[in-house]
Amino acid sequence: MTGVAEAQAQAEPLARRGARLRNWSANNQFVGVLGLLVCLFVAFSFIEPRFFSAANMRVMLTGVGILWMISLGLTVVMLTGGFDLSLGSMLGLSGFVFVGFYVKLGLPALLALVLTVIVGAILGGAINGFLIGKVGLPFLVVTIGTLSLFQGITFLVSNGQTTSLTSSLLDTIGFGTKLGVPVTVWIMIGTLIVMMFVLRRTYFGRDVYATGGNPKAARLAGVNVTRTLIAAYAIAGGLVALAGVLQNAFISAASPAGGGTIIFDATAAVLLGGTVLGGGVGGVGGTVVGVLFLGVLQNGLSLAGLASAWQQVISGVIVILAVLSQQLQRQRRRA
């Protein structure tokens, strides 16, 4: 910067803006997918008149609400270089945690919601986070274990039965609108803003990137890697618990079948969004682009009347191609 600094002083504003832009696109590798998303959006709008309507947009956005929350949580975990397979089964369990607080204990719905999120964070942090961050077990082993553990507990507490729920709060969350926008979408946006702030504007966020980028260097620089890992899995747990309540709201019930294979969609969304397996690179901004991409694709294809088997084939191929193109981009940048 010394020798360059003087020369830069004159050309500062433009050059710096150029450098910043380049830097931004290097750090935000989802730009390619963003372009693809726009193309897909425009294409569907032309092919299918019902696609670009307010009603369909509402359906599409609320439809990805659960995936959105889970993907945000998974992003934080993946940024630390880890992974959490148990998020899917934690989704089902959280639905019944809410039932426990709301139905069994008769607590107010809002309090039950907050407590559910706290329980989710504790499950994620105290079990997954502790075993991975403090004890040092491999994340795949731990979360395969908790995947089965949470699923088992869900069936035990539910007896395999769906519990129906009625609550004005759940109705508002699931079906209400504010300013013409579904409340679900407001919650999604709010969560995104909070997560963006935490990851990009706090020391904790830097710890997350440092832990995933180079845990050795981070530790030597005084970053508490253990605490960061525990917190990351706790955040994922909390967000998934929120998604669990959202799911309750959508179906006005808690179902032990909730969860399923959503973790794979979430993984696809996070990878599409430019967060890499191994950690340190990416962010929640990219993840929501990935989530919207998957949402638009599914919504558009089913409006076009394509059989769901074909939808799966097409999404699979596109996800692989998109991640492949990112990989190539990265290699080119390195060369």
Binding site: R16, R20, N23, N27, A210, A218, A221, V223, N224
Partner: protein, 519 residues
């Protein structure tokens, strides 16, 4: 067992026993090797006689390891001839060296820990086969033949990971012998062994010698040379200085040839006198790290520079790790201004004024995906409240100032460190630690892998730091560097601080003397 007794080349060699050529198994003449701009070997001559234990002796950078790598086929020489068993051979890959009968046992184990001893001895395609696959019974029998020969305590069926280090080494030796090796290269085989294990290894080498095996043995420990070697070859700066019978040498003469100077009176300097100095900032008392450091005590005063000398594996790096708190000691204390530091509480240690520039800066220095600013501020802010926000504008200004001060060339403070050149990354590591305003700076191998310009820059920065009253504890394998940088040098040997020398009186020969286990 040994191919030497049956090979036709050997038989013809025996008939001409009277000629001087015949009793040398291997001879190398005029060997040169360059690595980029580094001229590692500048004409090495080496003669190994049949059935002897020959030691290669030399300081760091003398070209010893390059020579070994050439003999084991890992590196091919640029010039020079190598004759093995009367015929000129071209090495250049390990398979060819093995086929010729040269086997290497290095410090790093090449064993597969999950497999049994027998499978490791006959690793890879060398298992006994029959039409239906591997004949495990015959394989085991063949491994057993070699294994029993070595007088090992463990069974060939034991898993290698269950064996102690000396027994694992035995497996490597057994593998070499089972491949009909006639020349065994032992590269610092004793560095991870206890005294009794060393003794039994020596017993083994002697008994192999009596069966006709020739051994090249590398060790930095003086007493081991005298205990085992028949002859030695001394290297300095990539050249052979001289070779001769060990009986003609004493420790002083070996060191003199190695470094080109004689140990002086300073070598008589006592231990731990540094710890008695008045009002030190850093005081380490009886610090021990299991397997690496024993009972180390030292003190560093404000503006003082203390060096840690010693061979690789003597515990220097581990001692620094333990002082900083990244490695848990099993005894002893670290005090800063009289207040004890808690091991493992790194951000607290940083907050108190400790900074650590690690030796492995490429892997442990920076988070390459993060920006220059973020890396520069990482240590300083490691004690801040985690959910508070960094003042990013101020940080950027600070980063620019640091960049100017340390001569870091980067397009902007917001680019990822991965975009910087290696030398600039090194400077970012240093700047990161200097801006945490430390009172004590710990450095491990501060100039390893940097070019001469960056080296000079680092020396200048360290001198400035001292002038500002920062105490320095630096570990280095380059003795010249320590002599230039430090007021006092502590020499470590096998995990213990064995000498404390005043730099004004000490010489390279003195450091070598203590580092190699002299008293």
């Amino acid at each position: 067992m040994f191919a030497a007794s049956t090979s036709p080349a050997q038989a013809s060699a025996r008939t001409t026993l009277s000629s001087p050529v015949s009793d040398s198994l291997l001879s190398a003449t005029g060997v040169h090797k360059r690595f980029g701009g580094v001229h590692a070997l500048r004409g090495v001559d080496l003669t190994i006689r049949r059935g002897e234990v020959h030691s290669l002796v030399g300081a760091n950078g003398s070209g010893k390891s390059t020579l070994l790598n050439i003999l084991s086929g890992q590196v091919s020489p640029d010039a020079g001839t190598i004759t093995f068993d009367g015929a000129e051979i071209r090495l250049g890959d390990t398979a060819r060296a093995l086929a010729a009968g040269i086997a290497t046992v290095t410090q790093e184990t090449t064993l597969v820990p999950e497999l049994s001893v027998a499978e490791n001895i006959l690793l890879g395609p060398r298992k006994v086969r029959r039409w239906s696959g591997i004949d495990w019974r015959a394989t085991r029998r063949r491994a057993l033949e070699t294994w029993e020969l070595l007088g090992a305590e463990y069974s060939v069926d034991d898993q290698v990971s269950d064996l102690p280090p000396d027994q694992q080494q035995l497996v490597e030796i057994a593998r070499a012998i089972s491949m009909n090796a006639r020349l065994l290269l032992l590269d610092e085989p004793t560095s991870s062994l206890t005294e009794t294990e060393v003794e039994s290894l020596f017993e083994l080498v002697r008994s192999l010698k009596s069966r006709g095996l020739t051994t090249i043995f590398v060790s930095h420990r003086m007493n081991e040379l005298f205990a085992l070697a028949d002859r030695i070859t001394i290297l300095r700066d990539g050249r052979t200085v001289e070779a001769g019978e060990i009986a003609d040498y004493d420790a002083e003469r070996i060191i003199e040839r190695m470094v080109g100077g004689v140990p002086t009176a300073a070598a008589a300097g006592g231990v731990a006198s540094a710890a008695d100095e008045a009002a030190p900032v850093l005081r380490v008392r009886n610090l021990s790290v299991p397997g690496h450091v024993r009972d180390a005590s030292l003190a560093v005063a404000a503006g003082q520079s203390v060096g840690l000398a010693g061979l690789t594996g003597s515990g220097r790096a581990e001692l620094l790790d333990a002082v900083f708190g990244v490695r848990r000691p099993d005894g002893g204390t670290v005090e800063l201004d009289g207040v004890e530091l808690r091991p493992g509480q790194i951000s607290e240690s940083i907050g108190r004024g400790l900074a650590y520039v690690p030796g492995d800066r490429k892997n442990a220095g920076l988070v390459l995906g993060m920006t220059v600013t973020e890396n520069l501020m990482m240590a300083t802010t490691s004690g801040s409240l985690r959910l508070s926000s960094p003042a990013r504008t101020r940080e950027r200004v600070e980063a620019r100032t640091l960049a100017r001060e340390f001569g870091i060339v980067a397009a902007s403070p917001d680019v990822a460190c991965a975009t910087l050149s290696g030398g600039n990354q090194q400077k970012v590591v240093l700047a990161k630690w200097m801006c945490s305003s430390p009172r004590i700076l710990l450095l491990d191998e501060p100039t390893r892998g940097v070019d001469i310009g960056a080296k000079r820059e680092i020396y200048r920065l360290l001198a400035e730091a001292r002038a500002r009253g920062i105490g320095i504890l630096v570990s280095s394998s380059e003795t010249e560097e320590l002599l230039a940088l430090c007021d006092r040098i502590l020499v470590m040997f096998r995990g213990e601080i064995v000498a404390s020398l005043d730099t004004a009186e000490a010489t390279e020969a003195d450091l070598a003397h203590f580092a190699m286990g002299g008293r």
